[in-house]
């Protein structure tokens, strides 16, 4: 049942994906309202799917690769919906909907009905460590999308060539504000995520886990740390902050997607 819901959610997200592609191609907002409604409905089914899966395996459904993608997709949707509810920035959809769609698509692709949970992951820490990291990722994803919008708008303003698409994008001030606020939410979350991860490793082995994912997540954390530092101390904003925010999110993607290829503890069951 949970996989049916996941597929339905993907179907609904595809409306949002089509909206994003058409809007980017035509440089004009195309059926945003239906896409928003479909995404909202998709999100409800998606959450339903995750809850059902959790009831099936009687555990946090985050031990398999497809579950991780599905979880990330759902949280990215949540992040978008919160940002939209607060700022009413419709153009955010152009950046958010494709990511939501792709994450959920990959989740469907890698779907694996087996529900064996590796013993090393059987710990209550998983209920704290993983959600914190994923929530942080979702917030940083919104910061990333805001940074891209900022750069597009800024380029248009500097080069003095605007199209209707640029008129549709939010103001620089709003993009920067959204980027900063998302960072302010995302950074503490990943910080706590890393700390709980370290404590978990300590509890199991008595030492810190040493795998590639840990290393990369630490590097990513450093980038965001720098960004916060520059914003607070050096008064960075706008373009420079946007660049760093993008670098940080590339770090997030490498950490998240690359996990399997690096080997080590964070490799999923296959």
């Amino acid at each position: 049942m949970h996989v049916v819901l996941l597929r339905l959610a993907l179907g609904l997200y595809s409306v949002g994906f089509a909206h994003a592609v058409l809007t980017a191609l035509k440089k004009k907002q195309t059926f945003f309202k239906p896409a928003l409604a479909a995404t909202l409905a998709g999100f409800v089914l998606h959450v339903g799917s995750i809850v059902l899966r959790a009831m099936d395996v009687r555990y946090l459904p985050l031990t398999q690769q497809y579950e991780a993608f599905s979880f990330f997709g759902a949280l990215a949707t949540l992040g978008f919906l919160i940002a939209y509810a607060k700022y009413r920035i419709a153009p955010l959809s152009v950046f958010a909907f494709p990511v939501i769609f792709i994450m959920t698509f990959v989740a469907n692709l890698y779907y694996d009905p087996s529900s064996s949970i590796p013993p090393v992951l059987r710990s209550n820490w998983i209920y704290i460590h993983t959600p914190l990291v994923f929530l942080g990722y979702a917030a940083l994803f919104i910061a990333f999308a805001a940074a891209i919008m900022y750069l597009i708008q800024e380029r248009a303003l500097k080069s003095k060539h605007s199209t209707r698409f640029h008129n549709w994008l939010p103001s620089l001030d709003m993009c920067d504000d959204l980027a900063y606020k998302s960072l302010a939410i995302g950074f503490p979350l990943i910080t706590l995520g890393i700390i709980t991860g370290a404590l978990w490793a300590q509890a199991v082995w008595g030492v810190w886990a040493r795998d590639a994912k840990v290393l990369f997540s630490f590097l990513t954390w450093l980038v965001y740390m720098l960004l916060i530092f520059y914003r607070l101390i050096a008064g960075w904003r706008g373009r420079k902050a946007a660049y760093l925010s993008i670098v940080g999110f590339i770090g997030v993607l490498v950490t998240f997607l690359g996990a399997n290829y690096f080997g080590g503890l964070h490799t999923f069951n296959q």
Partner: protein
């Protein structure tokens, strides 16, 4: 319905002709009553603005309107005829829709025209010169104009320097509340831009000028503060938007200076609008992060881009107009079809009965059966004669491009609608 429209606009007539043909508001009422007082003119409406004069009338003959225009303004017809255009029926409807939707305006999509058309309608309604037909037409025109406005982007982007400045400021700052604008130098255009920014929500205005008195004067207008020209750079730290329009022959703000200011502002964005010629601000200031510099040519570029965008949208608007014109024609034609058929039948039936009545004398020898047969034969004859016209009437009523057959048939059979 027979519509005739005669007019001239900025596209067909130079201002010397337009001003001579214009109606001032006091003369409008008299003109309307005089026009409708004529034979063959049943309803009329006059739109007179600085860019156009249009007379719309429910009348079969547009020559009457041309004559009226020349008579009223006491201008020989030959001298204006080449500037006048006239449209009938479908084309007249299309023209009215296009004018109201601002597709025929000098600046396409400018919003004032709809208000002017509405006012013209109100005046004509007050004067009692609009009836069923023109009010149906005008109300539809208002709805079409609204539809064009909301469904296309023809009125969306700024096409004047001051509005372009406001639009750009909104793209940088979003909400302008709490922002400060600084005016350096005094020119009409700079003043106008500041006025628009203030109306758009800018909270405070700083004014500086080489002659301090002038700055004080201008500051009063904007309820702002005057600052001495020697120290303007210090005050600029608090300004989010700076408008320069001095007569200086060299740059008064250089890159270094702007860099220092932005540093002191902790990188809070700044928007410089340089409308002076020669320019007041070093163009390389635009290279600084969080600083946006637009000179007069840049603003003109923005306006040109917006105008191009409007033209693109205008072709979409034309599509809307085309389908609306068709829908309106059908509706108006359909309105006349049923009464025409009814009248047609009644007229011919009356003809038949009158004819029998008139020949009663010769028919009195006929047996009741024969009389009955005669009645049936004449009835059938009338029905057969009417069959094709009525069929055509019903069919052509659904073809918006088709001729106004209802009117033609009424003329042929001498039928008057009640």
């Amino acid at each position: 319905m027979q519509l005739a429209l005669v007019g001239l606009s900025h596209k067909t007539a130079p201002v010397e002709v337009r001003e001579r043909m214009a109606f001032n508001s006091d003369a409008l009422r008299a003109a309307l009553t005089s026009l409708v007082g004529r034979q063959e003119v049943n309803e009329a409406l006059i739109l007179s603005t600085c860019n156009r004069v249009e007379v719309v009338a429910e009348s079969a003959d547009e020559r009457l309107i041309r004559e009226f225009l020349c008579e009223f303004h006491q201008i020989p017809h030959e001298s204006v005829s080449k500037h006048l255009y006239s449209f009938r029926n479908v084309e007249a409807i299309r023209h009215v829709f296009r004018v109201a939707a601002s597709l025929d305006s000098m600046v396409i999509g400018e919003p004032q025209i709809l208000g002017q058309v509405k006012e013209a309608y109100r005046i004509a309604a007050d004067a009692g010169t609009v009836g069923m037909h023109l009010s149906a037409l005008m109300n539809r025109a208002f709805a079409v104009a609204k539809k064009v406005r909301s469904e296309t982007g023809i009125s969306q982007s700024a096409v004047s320097v001051s509005y372009a400045a406001v639009e750009l400021a909104r793209k940088i700052f979003g909400d302008l509340a709490g922002k400060t604008v600084m005016i350096i130098g005094a020119s009409k255009m700079g003043e106008l831009a500041a006025k628009h920014l203030k109306r758009a929500g800018v909270s405070s205005v700083l004014v500086t000028n080489r002659t301090f008195e002038r700055a004080v004067e201008l500051a009063k207008v904007f309820e702002g503060a005057a600052v001495p020209f020697e120290h303007f750079a210090d005050h600029m730290v608090g300004a989010d938007i700076v408008i320069t329009s001095t007569g200086a022959t060299h740059f008064i703000i250089g890159k270094n200076q702007a860099e220092q200011i932005i540093h002191r502002r902790k990188n809070k964005p700044m928007f410089f609008i340089d409308i002076a010629v020669p320019r007041d601000i070093d163009p390389s200031v635009n290279e600084i992060d969080n600083v946006f510099l637009y000179d007069i040519d840049d603003l003109q570029q923005v306006i040109d881009d917006n105008l191009k965008e409007r033209l693109k949208e205008a072709s979409r608007a034309e599509e809307i107009i085309t389908s609306e014109v068709e829908a309106f024609c059908l509706k108006m034609k359909g309105r006349e079809v049923v009464p025409t058929i009814v009248q047609l039948r009644e007229t011919l039936e009356k003809l038949r009965r009158d004819e029998i009545e008139r020949n009663r004398r010769h028919l009195k020898d006929l047996s009741p059966e024969q009389q009955e047969a005669l009645d049936q034969i004449t009835k059938s004859l009338v029905n057969k004669i009417l069959h094709t016209p009525i069929e055509q009437l019903k069919q052509l009523a659904h073809d918006p491009q088709g001729p106004d057959i209802a009117d033609l048939i009424r003329k042929i059979f001498n039928v008057k609608l009640q």
